[in-house]
């Protein structure tokens, strides 16, 4: 556990060369900062007690923990602007957090920094069916959006497994996927506009919102998925999609993942774009069966395939899908006859991560991607890596887009096992890179995978990406220490920014 800042520590230890050495009277002590924040947010909007701060020491990835100096809970976009402006002017690093369900440590606090929790910005601001748009605040939970438009026959397509708890702001930061993104795209394909508080506290609107093709750079496309390092979205315009006329779902059992993989290739090769196509291996099936009893067949692998769209198309392609599964050697094919049966299939799939707790004390979730045609070779290699290390690895993945989620099972009470699991997970991700894949498909780089970035991208690639960072956040205050293993200097004057004397005087009056 890292040391928590003493009550009179100076805040804002950031990057390099003596960065934030503040001069005499202008330094902000913790007590002063708390009072200023309380002036903005009220006493109930600021958390400073150590025990309470501990609730925020990690996100969904629990192997990294840092207690922030302060947690603030803004309730409005204006609050966020004021908080960020204060942090900027005083050179204090800050991290935005939604529901804290991220799996790469993207919302891990910064020591001596402020954690800005956005869960109180949870209003759905506008439902505009004629333009197929919903405008929300960042703390709105993913599933609420679909619920808000369900009566109109619409839904919000991106559906990460965390959708009943994860926030839209967090989804935007991570460019979340989900089981239906093969056909419908990711968060980036569904966010049409955002009001963003930049790291200097100024506000910009990016993306067209309700109108398409805003002139200028595609800043929104670059902002979505930037893992909270470019600013904080305070108002987000989402596209909602008309519910399909028909949905058909089947579950097919196979001897092993190779057979199931043949079926996947066959389905997609026949020109079908399934709404979802998910695979689980035997270990995963066992865990899910123990945890939520969906009644899955005992098999080496199961596929869940869902088709949606116009009735005539779905019927014809569903027949084709059944034939393809049979030809690939399916030992059993179950067809969901109604919504309840479909929900049961998905319950089993969406419970997969949590179900690992039933067959193992601890597990490490990996997230990596390979070209679809490499799936068979990579799965074989994953199994070998597990065997070599004497570790069990369960596999559940989005087969259609080659997005793997190997789960490395271990027991934290056995000395050395956690490290061994992390090593196995690391070898798996490097295998994926060797096969032309990516370090992460939807969980993000965050803190977790920074060290692997140079394996996938050259120093020039990373430096050019950071040019964008420098344009948005020249002083590295916004979620620093994530994504990039080596922060690039931005050619600005290093360290704290000289505040205008008048501004300084105005601030001082608040204390």
């Amino acid at each position: 556990m890292r040391r928590h800042g003493a009550s009179h520590s100076r805040l804002g230890k950031v990057w390099g060369d003596g960065g934030l050495e503040w001069e005499g009277a202008s330094s902000v002590e913790r007590g002063q900062l708390i009072r200023t924040m309380e002036g903005i947010l009220g006493p109930e909007g600021v958390i400073s007690e150590r025990e309470q701060l501990r609730s925020y020491e990690c996100d969904g990835l629990m192997n990294y923990r840092v207690i922030p100096e302060l947690v603030v809970l803004p309730e409005t976009a204006e609050h966020v602007q004021e908080v960020v402006k204060l942090c900027h002017d005083e050179g204090i690093p800050f991290v935005a957090r939604g529901s804290g369900t991220g799996l790469s440590g993207g919302a891990l606090p910064v020591e001596s920094g402020v954690l800005i929790v956005l869960s109180r910005l949870r209003r759905i601001l506008e439902v505009d069916i004629p333009n197929q748009r919903v405008v929300v605040e960042p703390g709105v939970i993913n599933i609420w959006v679909s619920q808000a438009v369900a009566d109109e026959g619409y839904y919000y397509a991106p559906d990460p497994a965390s959708q009943i708890v994860s926030s839209i702001g967090g989804n935007l930061a991570e460019n979340s996927g989900g089981v239906h993104c093969l056909k419908y795209g990711f968060t980036s394909n569904h966010v049409m506009g955002a009001e963003v508080v930049l790291p200097d506290g100024s506000v910009v609107n990016i993306g067209g919102g309700k109108a398409p093709d805003a002139p200028g750079y595609e800043l929104l496309g670059a902002f979505v998925g930037s893992e909270g390092t470019l600013g904080i979205a305070t108002k987000i315009t989402l596209r909602v999609v008309r519910k399909p006329e028909a949905v058909r779902t089947l579950l097919a059992a196979f001897k092993d993942t190779e057979e199931a993989g043949d079926a996947v290739s066959g389905i997609i090769g026949s020109g079908i774009v399934p709404a979802a196509i998910e695979m689980m291996d035997s270990l995963c099936i066992e865990a899910v069966e123990t945890a939520v009893h969906p009644g899955f067949p005992q098999a080496g692998a199961v596929l869940i395939v869902e088709l949606d769209g116009p009735h005539a198309e779905v019927e014809s392609q569903f027949e084709q899908t059944i034939r393809t599964c049979e030809e690939a050697g399916a030992s059993e094919i179950r067809i969901a006859e109604d919504d309840a049966e479909r929900a049961l299939f998905w319950k089993g799939r969406k419970a997969a991560f949590a179900a690992m707790g039933r067959i193992s004390n601890d597990y490490y979730v990996q997230d990596s991607v390979v070209p679809r045609t490499e799936l068979g070779a990579v799965l074989k290699r994953i199994s070998e890596i597990g065997n070599e290390a004497g570790m069990r690895v369960a596999n559940v993945f989005h087969a259609g887009d080659g997005n793997l989620h190997p789960l490395v099972l271990y027991d934290n009470d056995v000395p050395g096992e956690a490290e061994k699991a992390e090593d196995v997970a690391g070898r798996i991700v490097l295998t994926c890179l060797e096969h032309g894949g990516s370090l992460t498909g939807e969980h993000g780089i965050g803190k977790d995978k920074m060290k692997y970035m140079p394996k996938m991208l050259t120093a020039d690639d990373l430096n050019v990406m950071q040019l964008l960072r420098c344009a948005f956040d020249p002083h590295h205050l916004c979620n620093p220490g994530k994504i990039f293993p080596t922060p690039r200097l931005c050619g600005e004057r290093p360290g704290p920014f000289r505040m205008h004397p008048v501004q300084k005087a105005g601030l001082a009056e608040n204390f």
Partner: protein
């Protein structure tokens, strides 16, 4: 001769790309009447890098060029010394049909790429009107060109999954990759989409592919007035049809909304029937044949087939305001003796307008009036093509609002000396 180019000779360029691949510019290389001094055609990313490094060191203004089909897009160049053509970078680098992904060099023509992909029953889901005229992949990305099928497949930003770029100082960098799902690092491929060459030269791009539809039907409805246009478009948008496009054609000799349905034959038949039934309430409906499906309507897209005095606009507005877009356009034009015609993506909120007749002043006033209205309502009006003299009177992109300063900062980071297409992009970039 411009003082900037005095330090650079044709030989310097030929030393990089070979004697036959660099030449003195000719009149047809001019952009909006501004003539460059040289044209170079690099044959590799390394040559692009060396050319840009030279240009950056010597302060030469560079215009990247693909097929040249959209060279009228943008403000007239502030300076222009070197046209950097991607014509020789024209190959598919990698296409694994089973992965439904392609990596292609920037100078390849989109129509050639589509033809090759069709051999595997695949396509890139974009169909900009400049395809037939020889638009290249790099040009389509840089101009963010789109066509009718964006209703179903989205635009370049939704299909591009990786890019290799060369920055002004010669740095070669990539982002994304050859997998559809990938969140490792910033999404620079989206940032470069629509950047009009001002952030760097796009050397190659990777796309996700879609299966080629087996069959197509177009259902067309004749509409009496603009109110019916808005209602018919809304009816299609909120139905459970899955059209590939919903196109408007609006002018003296055509008042038409067309709905393109693509997919497997039984589904296309069924959907065409549903669409006909749905649209019958708005006017006379007829089905167009397979042969007509590629030609979605009678009117060419304004600004895509450049020439003469045409002033072509692109109006972006919330799709529910389609009737208002047409009414405001016809109103602004009729008061000034200007004749408009329009095509566009009725279900998306993109309307292309061509202005003819009337004098230059009248057309300037039309643009200013429409821009005032639609900027206020959250949209934009850009001048997509116009004579250079017109563009010297009307800034082509319109206001950027709150994001102007950030936009400039991004440009300064990528092209600090401002050598890439200076003056042509938004906000004076």
């Amino acid at each position: 001769m411009d003082t900037r180019t005095q330090n650079v000779s044709l030989e310097d360029l030929q030393n990089i790309v070979g004697e036959q691949h660099a030449r003195e510019a000719a009149a047809e290389d001019a952009i909006d009447g501004v003539e460059p001094r040289f044209v170079a055609e690099p044959g590799s990313v390394e040559e692009v890098s060396a050319l840009l490094k030279l240009a950056n060191d010597e302060g030469l203004a560079v215009a990247p060029r693909g097929g040249g089909t959209m060279s009228r897009l943008g403000n007239p160049p502030r300076n222009l010394d070197l046209v950097l053509s991607t014509a020789r970078l024209n190959e598919i680098v990698e296409h694994v049909p089973g992965d439904q992904v392609v990596r292609v060099q920037a100078g390849m023509k989109l129509r050639d790429l589509q033809e090759q992909l069709a051999g595997s029953n695949q396509m890139v889901g974009i169909d900009p009107p400049e395809t037939g005229a020889g638009a290249t992949i790099g040009g389509v990305v840089a101009a963010n060109s789109s066509g009718p099928r964006r209703y179903r497949y989205g635009t370049i930003r939704d299909l591009i999954i990786g890019v290799t770029v060369v920055l002004a100082d010669g740095t070669v960098a990539k982002s994304g990759g050859k997998v559809v799902k990938n969140v490792a690092g910033y999404d620079l491929q989206k940032l470069f989409t629509g950047s009009l060459g001002t952030l760097g030269l796009i050397a190659s791009a990777n796309f996700r592919l879609h299966p080629l539809p087996e069959a197509a039907r177009t259902v067309a409805v004749e509409l009496a007035d603009t109110a019916a246009v808005g209602q018919a478009a809304q009816a299609v948008m909120h139905s459970q049809l899955v059209p590939s496009s919903v196109e408007l054609h609006w002018g003296e000799d055509a008042k038409l909304l067309t709905v393109l349905l693509e997919g497997i034959p039984p589904a296309v038949e069924a959907q065409a029937e549903t669409a006909s039934f749905l649209l019958r309430g708005f006017g006379d409906v007829r089905e167009r044949s397979d042969e007509e499906a590629e030609n979605l309507g009678p009117l060419p897209v304004p600004g895509s087939f450049t020439g003469g005095d045409e002033v072509a606009l692109k109006i972006s507005a919330p799709p529910s305001e389609l009737t208002g877009v047409l009414d405001s356009t016809w109103g602004a034009c009729s008061r000034r003796g200007v004749t408009p015609r329009a095509t566009g993506q009725a279900g998306i909120g993109v309307t292309y307008v061509s202005l003819s007749g009337g004098d230059e002043e009248a057309k300037v006033q039309v643009v200013e009036e429409l821009r005032e209205v639609w900027t206020r309502r959250g949209g934009s009006v850009i001048v997509r093509a116009a004579p250079a003299a017109f563009k010297r009177r009307v800034e082509v992109w319109g206001p950027l609002g709150s994001r102007l300063e950030l936009t400039r900062r991004v440009n300064e980071k990528f092209d600090p000396r401002g050598i890439l297409n200076p003056g042509r992009f938004v906000g004076g970039i």
